[in-house]
C-alpha cells in the first residue's frame, strides 16, 4: 500500500451530538478504536466520504482528550450535508492534522486569555479552551465571549453551562442577536458586547467567527487599546490538499493550510485581504 | 467481460410514461418475452430524454440505448415527441459522424396498445446489439467491472 499524505486512513464515527439545528458534533476514532492522531489546538483534519468529497474541519476536541477526536460541523455544502445525514458506526476517511495551531505553549503561556467566538466559530476555540482548562495553572484569567443568532444556535451549550460556567477563573459571557422569551442573558452582537465588557489591554485575544464579526470586533478591540499582535484568529478557505501544494488557500505568500490557519492579526496586515 | 463468456449486452430503454411504458406493461400483461438485458427507465415524455442521459448510459457500461415514446401526433403532451425526434436525430447523426456505431442508439414509437411491438422491438434491438458486440467507442474504462 502506497503511503502518501493524500491517502487517508479509515476512521469511524462513534457518536453524534446535535448541537443546533445546523451543527452536529461528531466523535471520531481510528480503525483500532483509539484516537487517530495527536494534534495541537487549532489544527484541522481532512474528513471525507469517498464519492461525496473531502473537506477540512477544525478539530474541536482538546489534545488532552486521549480517546477520540471531535469535529463540530455546520451543514452548508455537499460534504457537510452528507455528514449530517450519517449515523453512528459510519466510517469516514481522515487525514491530518494540518496547520500550525494556536501557540498554546508559547505565546499564550502565562497570559490572560479572552476568547471571542460567534456561531460555529466556537468550534476551533473549543479545543484551546478545553486545553487551557486542562492546564489551568499555566494560564491566567480566562474570559469567553460567545454569541449566536439565537439560543438554539449556541454550539456546545450544555458543555458551556455544565462545565465552563462552573469553573473558577473562567468567566463566560453569552449573547444572542435578538431577545427571546427563554433567554435572560445578554442580547446584542458580539463586537458591541466586547466593547461593553471592556477588557484589560494586557490580555491576549483569540477570536473566531464570521468575517463581519472579526472585522468589527477587531475595530472594537483596537478602540479599547488592543494591538493587533495581541489578537489571534483562525481562517477557513477552500482547500483540497491541505499540504500547501494545490494552490487554493494561497493568500499572498502564505498558504492558509500550512502557514495558518492560525494567524496573529499583525501578520495579516501584510497580506492581501482575500479571506 | 471474459472472452469465453457469451456477450450479454446491457440495454437501457427510456420509455415515456404514457405510451411506451404502458406498452411495455402490456407486453408483460400478455407475457410476451424479451431478453432481461433490457432495463426500462420511466420518463414522463420522450422529450424528457436529455442526450446527456444517453451518453451517461454508454459511459456507465450500456451497450445500447433505445428511446420509446408515443407515436408522433399521439404525445400525451401534444408535442413532446416531435422535439425528441429532432433531438435524437441530430444526436445520433453527430454520434455517427464521430464514428460511434449508429445501431447502438434507436428511437421507436410504441403506443400503449402495442405490447407486441414493444417486445418485438426489444428482441430485435438486443439481437442487433449482441451482434454488434460490446460498446468500445463510447465506454469509460473506469466504469468497467473488475
Amino acid at each position: 500500500m502506497r503511503t502518501d499524505p493524500l491517502i487517508p486512513m479509515v476512521a469511524q464515527v462513534t457518536h453524534i451530538r446535535t448541537d443546533t439545528p445546523d451543527v452536529k458534533t461528531f466523535r471520531v476514532v481510528g480503525p483500532d478504536g483509539k484516537k487517530p492522531f495527536a494534534h495541537i489546538p487549532g489544527q484541522c483534519a481532512m474528513l471525507s466520504m469517498p464519492g461525496v468529497g473531502e473537506a477540512l474541519f477544525s478539530i474541536t476536541s482538546s489534545p488532552t482528550n486521549e480517546e477520540y477526536l471531535e469535529f463540530s460541523i455546520k451543514k452548508c455544502g455537499c460534504v457537510t450535508s452528507w455528514i449530517h445525514a450519517i449515523e453512528p458506526g459510519q466510517q469516514v476517511t481522515l487525514r491530518g492534522p494540518y496547520g500550525n495551531g494556536f501557540p498554546v505553549d508559547t505565546d499564550f503561556a502565562g497570559k490572560d486569555l479572552v476568547f471571542i467566538a460567534g456561531g460555529i466559530g466556537l468550534a476551533p476555540l473549543r479545543s484551546v479552551i478545553n486545553y487551557v482548562r486542562h492546564y489551568r495553572d499555566r494560564y491566567g484569567a480566562v474570559d469567553i465571549v460567545y454569541g449566536a443568532r439565537s439560543k438554539a444556535d449556541l454550539v456546545d451549550y450544555e458543555e458551556i453551562l455544565q462545565e465552563w460556567c462552573q469553573e473558577d477563573g473562567i468567566r463566560v459571557h453569552l449573547t444572542i442577536d435578538n431577545a427571546q422569551p427563554d433567554w435572560d442573558g445578554h442580547v446584542g452582537f458580539v463586537p458591541n458586547y466586547v466593547k461593553e465588557l471592556g477588557f484589560d489591554t494586557g490580555k491576549t485575544v483569540v477570536m473566531c467567527g464570521p468575517p463581519v464579526m472579526i472585522k468589527f470586533t477587531l475595530a472594537g478591540l483596537e478602540e479599547l487599546g488592543f494591538r493587533r499582535d495581541q489578537v489571534y484568529t483562525t481562517f477557513e478557505l477552500k482547500m483540497k490538499c491541505a499540504l500547501g501544494k494545490c494552490g487554493r488557500c494561497n493568500i499572498g505568500d502564505k498558504y492558509v493550510c500550512k502557514d495558518g490557519p492560525v494567524f496573529r492579526l499583525d501578520q495579516m496586515t501584510e497580506l492581501p485581504d482575500e479571506y | 467481460m471474459q472472452m469465453n463468456q457469451e456477450f450479454k449486452p446491457t440495454i437501457v430503454a427510456f420509455c415515456c410514461n404514457w405510451c411506451s411504458y404502458a406498452g411495455a406493461d402490456l407486453s408483460g400483461t400478455n407475457r410476451l418475452q424479451y431478453p432481461a438485458n433490457v432495463k426500462i427507465i420511466r420518463i414522463p415524455c420522450s422529450c424528457r430524454l436529455n442526450p446527456m442521459f444517453i451518453l451517461r448510459a454508454f459511459q456507465r457500461g450500456a451497450d445500447g440505448v433505445i428511446l420509446c415514446g408515443c407515436h408522433p401526433g399521439d404525445c400525451h403532451y401534444t408535442t413532446g415527441n416531435y422535439y425528441a425526434r429532432r433531438r435524437m436525430t441530430l444526436l445520433f447523426s453527430l454520434l455517427d459522424y464521430m464514428g460511434i456505431e449508429r445501431q447502438r442508439t434507436r428511437v421507436e414509437w410504441v403506443s400503449a396498445a402495442e405490447g407486441a411491438k414493444f417486445a418485438a422491438t426489444m428482441n430485435d434491438f438486443v439481437d442487433t446489439i449482441t451482434k454488434l458486440g460490446p460498446n468500445r467507442r463510447l465506454e469509460d474504462l473506469r466504469c468497467k467491472s473488475e
Binding site: - | 445520433f92 464521430m98 434507436r106 467507442r137
Partner: protein
C-alpha cells in the same frame, strides 16, 4: 480602415454617445491583439488597433458590458454581428445600451496561418494591399494576404453586417463558400476512420475551456460542466469518454444557436477542428429542417426549438439511410 475605426471610437467617446467602447488593443507584437474596453479618446488614439489580426469576436463581452451603466460602443465584423443578433434573440444583450458599428471585413489573418507556411520567430508584419511582409528572427518573407487568411475566413459564410447602427465600409453579402466540404469529407469516411479521426483530435484536448469560454453561444450563467449539482461536472478529461462527452454536449447545447463564427477552433491551443462538430449539426439541420442561419434574423425559430409533423425519423440515421 484602421484610421476610420479609431476615429469612430474616439468620436463616440468624445461626443459622449458612448461611455465605453469595445475594440482591440495593440500588443507586444503586431499579432497579439487583445480585446479591450476603452474609456477615453486619448486611450483609443494611443492603444486601439484594427488590423487583419483583430479576429476576436467582441459580441460576447456585450453580455456583461451592455448591463453596465451607460452606453457601450462596439465594433463588429460580419461574423461577430451574427453572434450579436443571436445573443439578442436569447435576451442576453440589452440592445438599447449598445451602439454597434459594423466593420466590413475581407477576411482576417491569423498568426497560425503564417506559421503553417513555415515561418518562425515572426517579429513584425507589414500589410500592403494584398501582400504581407513578414519579418522574422531568421529573415524576411513576403506572402500573399490570402495565404495568411485565418482558417475560418477561408470558408466565410457571409460578409453581411447585421443589426448595426452604423457601418464602416460597405454592406457585404452572403458568400457561397464550400463551408461544409470538410464535413462532407468526414461523412464520406468509414465509421472506423471517423472514429479514429475524432479520437486523434479530441485526445489532444486539455479541457482548458478556451473553446467554451470564447464561444458566444456558450454564455451560460453556469455551465453544466462547472456545476457540482449537474451530475456531470468535470474539470479534466480523466478518460477518453470524458473528452468526447464534453465536446458532444457542447456541440449539442449550441446546436441551432451556433452562428459558425469559428472562434472555438481559432482559440484551441491544440488546434482541434472543433468547428467541424458544429458545422455537422448546422449541415444536418439545414438538410433536415430547412436552411437556417443562427443570428441572421430576429424572428425565425431555432430548429431545435420547433418541429414539423413531417420531420424525418431518427431511423434515417440508425438504419443508415443517411440525411439527404
Amino acid at each position: 480602415m484602421q484610421e476610420r475605426v479609431i476615429e469612430k471610437a474616439a468620436q463616440l467617446l468624445e461626443s459622449g454617445a458612448c461611455a465605453r467602447v469595445l475594440g482591440w488593443k495593440t500588443g507586444e507584437f503586431f499579432y497579439d491583439v487583445t480585446p479591450a474596453v476603452f474609456t477615453s479618446a486619448q486611450q483609443v488614439r494611443q492603444e486601439m488597433v484594427f488590423s487583419p489580426f483583430c479576429g476576436a469576436n467582441l459580441s460576447k463581452y456585450l453580455i456583461a458590458e451592455s448591463r453596465k451603466e451607460g452606453k457601450v460602443g462596439v465594433f463588429l465584423k460580419p461574423c461577430d454581428s451574427f453572434s450579436f443578433v443571436q445573443l439578442q434573440k436569447e435576451h442576453r444583450i440589452l440592445r438599447e445600451n449598445v451602439y454597434a458599428v459594423g466593420v466590413q471585413c475581407q477576411g482576417m489573418s491569423d498568426i497560425e496561418a503564417l506559421k503553417a507556411l513555415g515561418l518562425r520567430g515572426i517579429t513584425a508584419v507589414q500589410a500592403e494591399e494584398d501582400r504581407l511582409t513578414v519579418s522574422t528572427l531568421y529573415g524576411e518573407k513576403t506572402v500573399a494576404l490570402e495565404e495568411a487568411l485565418s482558417l475560418r475566413c477561408r470558408s466565410c459564410k457571409s460578409r453581411a453586417l447585421h443589426d448595426c447602427d452604423e457601418l464602416i465600409g460597405d454592406q457585404g453579402r452572403d458568400l457561397d463558400t464550400d463551408r461544409f466540404g470538410e464535413v462532407a469529407r468526414l461523412e464520406a469516411m468509414s465509421p472506423e476512420e471517423r472514429f479514429a479521426f475524432w479520437r486523434s483530435q479530441l485526445s489532444k484536448c486539455i479541457r482548458c475551456n478556451a473553446c467554451r469560454n470564447v464561444c458566444p453561444a456558450c454564455s451560460c450563467e453556469k455551465c453544466v460542466f462547472d456545476d457540482p449539482n449537474s451530475g456531470v461536472q468535470n474539470k479534466a478529461a480523466a478518460d477518453p469518454f470524458e473528452e468526447d462527452l464534453f465536446h458532444i454536449i457542447r456541440a449539442f447545447h449550441v446546436a441551432g444557436r451556433c452562428t459558425d463564427c469559428g472562434e472555438c477552433t481559432r482559440v484551441c491551443p491544440q488546434h482541434i477542428p472543433l468547428h467541424l462538430l458544429n458545422r455537422k449539426l448546422i449541415k444536418d439541420m439545414n438538410a433536415l429542417y430547412g436552411p437556417y442561419q443562427a443570428g441572421s434574423d430576429f424572428d425565425s425559430k431555432p430548429p431545435m426549438l420547433t418541429f414539423t409533423q413531417e420531420d424525418p425519423e431518427a431511423s434515417i440515421i440508425t438504419e443508415g439511410r443517411g440525411i439527404q
